[in-house]
Amino acid sequence: MAIASEPPKHGFRLSQLLYDTRYRSMTIQVVVMMMFMAFAAWLVDNTVSNLAARGKDFNFGFLGVRSGYDIGQRLIAYDSDSTHARAMLVGLLNTLLVSFLGCIVATVIGVFVGVLRLSKNWLVARLMTIYVEIFRNVPVLLWILIILAVFTEAAPLPNAFKEGGDASMMLFDSIAVTNRYTAVPDPLFSRSLGNIDIGIFLISSDLLALIAAIVAGWYARRIVLRRATFVQNATGERPVTWWKSAALLILPGVLTLWALGFHLGYPSLQGFNFTGGINVSNAFMSLWLALSLYTGAFIAEIVRSGVMAISHGQTEAAYALGLRPGRTMNLVILPQALRVIIPPLISQFLNLTKNSSLAIATGYLDLRGTLGGITLNQTGRELETVLLMMLIYLVLSLMISGAMNIYNASVKLKER
């Protein structure tokens, strides 16, 4: 017998706003909202009066004005007659380029080092531990500056590569590291398809064709594998697929390259400088290497903890079911380890992208160097440029973390 107590029958009192849990959260939210609005209004009001006091206004018209400065390394056509908006785009693409290449190299280093750190080989495991601890505990700015100094101070002049000089090129005479730039081979197509103009910049059709061929091959491989699984489910015998899948992974790319007449233009010393290849600035090289080595140390730790998070019982259970080691790795260990590894890995990619703004230390003109650097100084519009720069970085980050959330949702443990 439970006796429910009647709620008190008096009207609404003002003190209920504070002491009644039904209304209290509403009160708090209203107060917070008012404080937030007041704060925002205060900031805007200050900004308006400060702008007025300096005789400035808030508009982005400067983006359409001629920029008047050159950018050494660029992915799209640009010269000093182009607009500030285009300079911003060049900078953004430079940021994306160094981040993308950095993420790839950092992942390779990280996986390699993380696995070696787990190896039973005492010496190698210790060496990798030393690498990880040294790189994680020292500011990334130091690595950028040191690698930049290695390039600019310890590398030879382009001149030293002439016949009888004391410097020699690496990798079958294809790469030359000089104190001003690194000369690398240039990919060329003798039967090129030309470029597609999408209005803002040109895209190489050769690259698009190559990507299309590789993606098509990859899809074909998935169909082959799915058919094999289907046959296995029906008959119990799995058809042999390894040569088909290998061919579908490799052949389309190779055939496309052959069809387009792919060849490398090797750099060679003409006079005082290298020509015939691409001269990549040392600003870019040092930023790229430093970010990769630094982030690689963090990724190594992520990989190591991911593999260690999977208990040994999982391997033993898989063996007990009669799975071979390769399939154990593919079907049991990796899917579980990746669930642990991927989210922090993506956040390292995010960190690398944000750290690429340290290009300021090398002079590589990324988004911060163009929009938040030269454009800011030339136009004197610090409010607009810095806000725009932050907005762009924010959108980039949100896109990356959005992709991560989608992935997380797809691999999440399905709890029932």
């Binding site: 504070l18 002491y19 209290r24 959260s25 708090i28 939210q29 917070v32 909202m33 937030f36 900031l43 200050n46 900004t47 009066s49 400060n50 702008l51 006091a53 070696l116 190896s119 039973k120 080989n121 005492w122 010496l123 190698v124 060496l127 601890e133 040294i134 994680r136 505990n137 020292v138 500011p139 990334v140 700015l141 130091l142 500056l145 040191i146 100094a149 101070e153 995010l350 944000k354 750290n355 703004s357 340290l358 300021i360 230390a361 911060r368 938040g372 610090e382 409010l383 810095v386 806000l387 720069m389 932050m390 970085y393 924010l394 980039l396 980050s397 949100l398 973390s401």
Partner: protein, 482 residues
Amino acid sequence: MAEHRTAAFVRTEMLPEKAPPVSEVGIIRWLRENLFSGPLNTVLTFMGLFIIYFMIKEYSPWLRHSVWNAASVGECRDIVTAKYGEGATGACWAIIRDRWNMFMFGFYPRELYWRPTLALGLLIFAAAPVLFSESRMIRMWVLGVVSVFLMVAFPGLGVPNGDTALLAVLLVAMLAAAWARPWALLWLTAIYPGLAVWMLWGGSVWGPTLAMAGFVIGWAAWLATRRLGTILSVGAAVLVPVLWWLFGIAPVQAFLDAGLPFAIEGVRSEKFGGFVLALTIGVAGIALSLPMGVVLALARRSDMLLVKALAVGFIEFIRGVPLISLLFVASLLLNYFLPPGTNFDIILRVIIMVTMFAAAYIAEVVRGGLAALPRGQYEAADSLGLDYWKAQRLIILPQALKISIPGIVSTFIGLFKDTTLVVFVGLLDPLKGITDSVRASFEWKGAYWEPYIFVGCIFFIFNFSMSRYSMYLERRLHRDHE
């Protein structure tokens, strides 16, 4: 039975033990198991050995030919050439020796070097009751080393003997307190923020004192209004100190400065540099970002939609932009956002930005810790009838923070490393600001590696000990029932 008798030979006694094969004992076994257990491992071992050999061959002459005493890079080279012959290279550590003060203090006035040094020493004393509360031995070791360091450093910095003796008395008193009643040192912890600010920047003693008094006033306001209920008293405890800081301090300080002037020589923020600057920003950022991060994490998990939305917006915004752009906001845009004519200290502005940056990351780490707690803990707190704040304080946060220790400490390490970025808003950080200005001098032009290696080593020592401390803390807080 019959078969036994027909056997030609039956051994009746035990054979003595044989020694194990040579390959299964001692160092050879260790080598076989750890270095040469298979073809792949053998190859890896030889590659590792080759890398070590290569490093030693390339860099050991440079290190062995180190020069510690010289007045310029040229002199260093001359000494190396004279000693080891033409073409030999050697490290020139003389640059560190010559510009030691620059690396440590930046342009801080030379006769006041003792103030940041003492502030750093007192920091360890103030932190001891929090960081090393459990083990008296570790505590006394750390504090003893700090005391010896201070006693050696003070005469070296040109402090008169009388003052050094005063310091000795103070240190002995604090060591005695740390031995007998470590919690008494919490008084030092409580006043340390104001004390450190006063010692670093100097000026009137009343500014930092009155600022610290704000906390006492807040506490008094809380006591006075406690009868009116939690919400009102918390509101009063926040509102009254804020009003005091905004409007109360200036007139009271003017009055006290006129009546009871007590000031030491002031040092402007532009004079700060080197590791004094890095540690000032790093320690302030670490101390401020932890509470802010916890509050943000709680706000993000709040049931109140608006509070949660604001917290998510703040955290995602801060985490989405590079720290450099926030520092640009501090140096370029704050002048727009604040009332016309406001001009407050650049180091303070940087500390605010660095704190916000680290707090957003800590909020995410703590949120992970909160999410990792089993639901049963929350339900248990509810069933005991604890209100929200009591449940958080007594049950949820102690466990959640314990889980988050590794993440929090690595955020702190990141924060300390990021203090080098302040060079891009014109402050003299030890890595680039000081190094560049040392190298700009005629004598040390061209000394590249030594300053970087030196600064890198110091950062490594700080960060590595922080990460080891977090491991120690995890072990100490580990309970077997988990």
